[in-house]
């Protein structure tokens, strides 16, 4: 039996999500924005696994879902990096506030 309550894990995930959101909204480097999004996805995974142990009708399904999330996150990181490199070749910048061609 575990003596750590469910809310402790949820608060950890909430803190991670908030830090990822702050990074994604304030950082100007596109690589850091991508990795902040990964941090937010990690927080979601932590919630899924926590509810797999403590939730209503707890079962292994939460862990299976977190595996699917990890797979999709890896695919997202690869495609994001490819877009970033293609953009760098054309615009020679990685700052998100200089990627404003659609605004002009």
């Amino acid at each position: 039996m575990s003596s750590v309550p469910l809310s402790a894990f949820l608060v950890t995930a909430l803190l991670l999500f908030c830090m990822g959101l702050y990074g994604a909204l304030t950082k100007r480097n596109a690589v850091i924005v991508l990795i902040s999004i990964e941090l937010m996805l990690n927080a979601v995974n932590l919630n899924l696994v926590a509810f797999a142990k403590y939730g209503v009708g707890a079962s292994i399904r939460g862990q299976v879902f977190s595996l699917f999330t990890i797979t999709v996150a890896a695919a997202e990181a690869a495609v994001g990096l490819a877009i970033l490199i293609a953009l760098y070749r054309n615009r020679a910048t990685v700052n998100v506030d200089e990627m404003n061609t659609l605004k002009k």
């Binding site: 750590v4 950082k27 690589v31 995974n45 142990k53 707890a58 292994i60 862990q63 299976v64 760098y88």
Partner: protein
């Protein structure tokens, strides 16, 4: 204080320290390295939640693959030495909004309790996941393989040098 609580507090501090370092360091490489600390801490939390297989996958995929792919992204693009600063006004607005979000969510989950916890997750954890993947979730499992293939091909096509564009650029 039980030993389990102590382990949780250590892992919590490791995880949060990695995130805070990521937000406060100035060099991009150091930020990614700080994130490795967070990913390892989360893997430890998974083991505490009796999810050994997910913990190993977390270390392989996040601490290994995603960190390396981000480092490749940093090395293949040119960076100024330090991250350019964002304006204080924008930072303040974003920070206030996130603190409000945190307080509201915290009020909601502070005392949550959803009944008894699962007791059999740690017994043959990988076997349970495998059985579930190949019975109930076999269609999503196959679809995920298609997603990975499309992402692989898409990444290669996107990052490939566009030869036609280059020829046009030379002529003009």
């Amino acid at each position: 204080m039980t030993g389990e609580l102590l382990v949780f507090i250590i892992l919590f501090l490791v995880t949060i320290t990695g995130g805070l370092l990521m937000l406060n360091l100035t060099k991009v490489i150091h930020m990614v390295m700080a994130l490795v600390l967070t990913f390892l801490g989360i893997a430890g939390l998974y083991i505490m939640l009796s999810a050994e297989f997910v913990a190993v996958v977390q270390i392989l995929i996040y601490s290994g693959a995603i960190t390396i792919i981000m480092l490749f992204g940093i090395m293949l693009t040119k960076h100024t030495e330090a991250e350019p600063k964002t304006g204080w006004a924008k930072k303040g607005v974003v920070f206030t909004g996130i603190v409000l979000f945190f307080l509201i969510m915290f009020k909601g989950i502070r005392t949550i309790s959803l009944g008894p916890q699962a007791e059999t997750l740690h017994e043959n954890n990988t076997e349970q996941i495998g059985i579930m993947l190949f019975t109930d979730y076999v269609i999503p499992f196959e679809l995920v393989s298609v997603v990975l293939l499309v992402a692989l091909v898409g990444a290669v096509v996107l990052a490939k040098k566009d030869e036609e564009d280059e020829k046009e650029g030379e002529q003009s």
